[in-house]
């Protein structure tokens, strides 16, 4: 249990990932669903950023000719987070556009209501 306290960033990100995942899976409201998606993605970014951080390290730009790796934080996770953010933004934009169109047609954001109305329209 002690490790959970030491790695509190990682613990928090795993909990947040769980919250986001279950929201995306179980929420009926589409907007809340996609907020869940964002929580889930951001949790992973927190995890990556925490993994790349070196306590006492500075930004990974060589200054004063110091090339010792332990002096800097790991830049790779930051790059991954940036890419991940771009992906998350585009996915969110796509899904919100979809939700907007669904709302215009069915007048509801609730997935159950939408499914019911779709079945009614079919018959």
């Amino acid at each position: 249990m002690g490790n959970l306290g030491v790695n509190f960033y990682e613990s928090a990100s795993v909990i947040l990932f769980g919250i986001g995942f279950m929201n995306l899976l179980l929420q009926k409201n589409l907007i809340k669903k996609f907020i869940g998606l964002n929580i889930m993605d951001t949790a992973v970014f927190l995890f990556l950023a925490a993994k790349g951080f070196v306590f006492g390290g500075s930004a990974p730009i060589i200054v004063d000719g110091i090339t010792d790796a332990s002096y800097y934080v790991n830049p790779v996770p930051a790059g991954l987070v940036l890419t991940g953010i771009v992906v998350a933004v585009s996915v969110t934009a796509f899904s919100l556009a979809l939700v907007q169109r669904l709302y215009q047609h069915y007048g509801s954001l609730n997935m159950d209501v939408i499914m019911r109305k779709m079945k009614e329209e079919e018959h």
């Binding site: 796509f94 899904s95 329209e121």
Partner: protein, 501 residues
Amino acid sequence: MEHINWIHNLPFFSIFIAMFAILLTAMFRTAKMAKRIHMTMMCIVVILSAILTYHMAVAPETFTFTMGHYPAPWGNELTAGPLEALMALVFGTVMLLSVMGGWVFIEKDVLQEKQYLYYIMLDAAMGAMLALIYTNDIFTAYVFIEINTLAACALVLAKGTATAMVGATHYLIMGLLGSGLFLFGVSILYSITGHLLLPQIGEAVTVLAASGQYHFALLIATAFLFIALAIKSGLFPFHTWLPVAHPIAIPASSAILSGFVVKGYVIFAIKLMYSVFSVEFMHELGIIDILFVFGVLGMVFGSLSAMRQRKMKKILAYSSVAQIGYIYMGVGLGTEIGLTAACFHMIAHGFTKSMLFLCAGSFVKQCGNIDDMDQMRGIAYKNPVAGIGYTIGAMSMIGIPLLAGFISKLYFATASIFSEGKMAASLLVLGISMILNALYFLPSVMAIWTTKKGMQEAKRANISPWFITSIVLLLCINVGLGVWYQPVIELIEVGLQLLQK
């Protein structure tokens, strides 16, 4: 700088051309130009992949292509071997023929001013698929998985109707759950191995597996990655989006979705399993057995659900669930011959299912957009090309000799005999599912060839020559694979051996 064989540039060029086609199409913004650019791009990609495959068949090797000449632990890499080249060739051909046969539907069902966007999505799906096959970097794979999901989702949406939107939302949500798990799996794997390139992760995993360090973290990461890929490819308990998305998509989209989008993830899973985790370690973690159980369940339940359907496209969608089950069963057997069977089945199913969807789409269009088997009585006489295509496709899926589906079933059966502990289960399920396949395909085949009493004289429908060409080519490939399967199997075997770390 070391000398590079010009052949080694081909994987990069095929990805680059597909991505460049998106930019070109976005500049011209007309449906006509978009179509031309797409077809040119596809022809080039197929030719490049064919050259690469031929080269691999003559002199099998695997090579890595370093992007920007940054060496291994830092740079981004592409890798290609016989298996990758063959799969790129197969998926390119499936895409080319599906779009060629699906032109009629694209022009009819997609709004004129939105058509160029449809072609952009096709280009994106192709580029992402090629990148997913060739990449040697797990994070690049994640990015292209996302691109592929969004492109496929947009392809499902193409009709723009409300039902299409609901189906696409289902697909999107399932896809995003998978992406989230994949990203988290990649992050955990990165944090315990410190690498993103597959061979380097592989080495680190071997060391970790031997020392027993981070065993639980490794288990979680592997489980997340494989569950994510299983969700994306529609394996049984996560298959719910497949039967929703297929019937509402236009036939070209369905053909592409079932023909290759879902398969790309399986290829990546095989690559992960062979070149990163190694089969023995997957056995130790127990993940391979879980994939096997899900695959076997998918084979039975997919077929059972297909039997209850009266709509042709739903039957085909559930049949896809069952066939994905076959593929995962082959993967789950964990033997080389099982994986060979799985890879061959991907090829056979890709060619067959795209043909089935195009033919079913043609029937539905002829019935005035009513997708019901009872409405389609005798329709094969009005539309003989689609009728023959559907019948041969169904026979191939059931496993009639001389057709591609028979060879994969033969190899699945052989593979199950040679696998310890799983022989009884897999042989039994193979037998059951073969009967079920016949049971759900035969009613639809019988329906299209039997006329009702008092029906008016069959009138030939007006069928586009491109549709006929595409169906005939798919038929030839199907029969060709069923008769001259040996070179393909050999290429797959060599590819799998080279992939193994």
